[in-house]
């Protein structure tokens, strides 16, 4: 089908975009890469009154580097990450994730901030940013604020972003040389949405250790007991198996079918295996 009628503006600066967003009457959507939004509009599942095209805003396509972190503009595309065109704070994790996300013709348009703002349960970036303890930098009429990506996604397609805020960037802490990560995406076809997603990151020097599951029927799911075992450098695979089962059972807000339990468990254990290897 074709997208419904819509108005369109392309502001020249982030300040202007924030102002337009604040004034917008009816349903206003921010258009970044559009790789989900335009599909939803073509399917008539979304029918905004106004699109604010933020994809070319210089503030949102910028990349900055600090001593401890890299700041990725919200409209950095998956392909830019895949190709290593931006500094990598993650020792290879971000490019690995980007290369397996949808298809090249989608990755050249789709953006980090768009993926985070959409908060699809099967989306890669919300889980990966949460596992890396990244922060989302939001810009609204009241000014800027920074929120941990862990907890940023509050539900299925729901985030802590206020309606008058734009995700400006994601601040990703640099992993140290001793850090290890594991990343497993189980999908029925290359580039398809994940059926299960596991991201494990441990950085002993910084006391950082997280195991996050995606495509798990809600926001990124933190496996705390299992992560603690990784942090303690446990080498007992049976202990990991028990811990994953306990963590999944403790997720009171989720219901997993038996095959889903097996998928999530397999993804988690494979990610742990990569970390320990």
């Amino acid at each position: 089908m074709k997208a419904p009628a819509v108005a369109y503006v392309r502001p020249q600066s982030l300040d202007e975009a924030v102002a337009v967003l604040g004034q917008g009457a009816g349903e206003v959507q921010l258009l970044a890469g559009g790789q989900s939004l335009l599909a939803l509009m073509n399917l008539r599942l979304a029918a905004p009154d106004l699109l604010i095209d933020i994809s070319r805003l210089p503030e949102l396509t910028a990349v900055g580097e600090e001593a401890e972190a890299v700041i990725l503009g919200a409209c950095v595309t998956h392909a830019m990450v895949e190709d290593g065109r931006i500094p990598d704070p993650s020792r290879g994790l971000l490019p690995r994730v980007a290369a397996g996300l949808a298809y090249r013709a989608v990755r050249t348009r789709g953006t980090l901030g768009g993926s985070l703002a959409l908060a699809d349960p099967a989306g890669e970036w919300p889980c990966v940013f949460a596992a890396l303890a990244a922060e989302a930098i939001l810009c609204g009429r009241a000014g800027r604020r920074s929120l941990p990506c862990a907890g940023f996604v509050t539900g299925i397609y729901e985030t802590a972003r206020a309606a008058d805020e734009i995700i400006e960037a994601v601040r990703v802490p640099k992993l140290s040389a001793a850090a290890r990560w594991g990343y497993v995406k189980l999908a029925r076809k290359t580039g398809a949405f994940a059926s299960a997603l596991a991201v494990a990151v441990t950085d002993p020097g910084r006391g950082h250790c997280r195991l996050v599951l995606g495509a798990a029927g809600g926001p990124p799911l933190f496996l705390a007991q299992t992560a603690a075992l990784i942090g303690a450098d446990c080498r007992d695979l049976d202990a990991y198996r028990l811990a994953v089962a306990a963590d999944l059972a403790a997720a009171a807000d989720r219901h997993f079918e038996e095959f889903e339990m097996q998928l999530h468990t397999a993804a988690a254990l494979r990610a742990i295996h990569q970390v320990l290897a």
Binding site: M1, P4, A5, V6, R10, Q35, A39, T190, G191, A192
Partner: protein, 160 residues
């Protein structure tokens, strides 16, 4: 309506477009470039793949109005391209199309894979083609044709 100015297959053009108009519909209905095929219209089939500023993109998931100032290249814009000539010939030799509906998207995707050095073997080519569907299921010959063109172009590059 918004006035846009873009480069289309090397020529500068200007048009008034409504915001809802997808790039694919702009190309087909306003510019009569019907080589860009529309299959699913939601980013799954890859038949509408074109190049925007040199990068492959789904013309069904890009608004024409958002292409203001960009360079768009469709399958019609590859007539003088050596890599595309090699792909066309290998698709012909290997019978890499049946109904032909997916072919423009397959060719542009294959061209990009070869350009980025991502057509090094069957596995890599199949991964790279995952976003292009052939409903005739003629993948075996498509993969073989791309591998052949990639090998030929690689050999000619080494020879140069």
């Amino acid at each position: 309506m918004t006035r846009i100015r873009l480069t289309l297959n090397g020529a500068t053009i200007e048009e008034e477009v409504p915001a809802r108009l997808a790039l694919a519909d702009f190309l087909r209905e306003r510019r009569h470039l019907t080589g860009t095929h529309l299959g699913c219209e939601h980013g799954v089939c890859g038949a509408c793949t074109v190049l925007i500023d040199g990068e492959p993109a789904r013309a069904c998931l890009v608004l024409a109005v958002a292409c203001d100032g960009c360079a768009v290249r469709t399958i019609e814009g590859f007539r003088d391209d050596a890599a595309m000539a090699a792909l066309r010939a290998s698709f012909h030799r290997r019978h890499a199309l049946q109904c032909g509906f997916c072919t423009p998207g397959m060719l542009i995707t294959a061209h990009d894979l070869i350009r980025r050095g991502k057509a090094g073997g069957e596995r890599e080519i199949r991964d790279g083609l995952a976003g292009n569907l052939c409903r005739c299921t003629g993948y075996t010959n498509i993969v073989a044709a791309i591998a052949e063109a990639a090998a030929q172009l690689g050999a000619s590059r080494h020879g140069a």
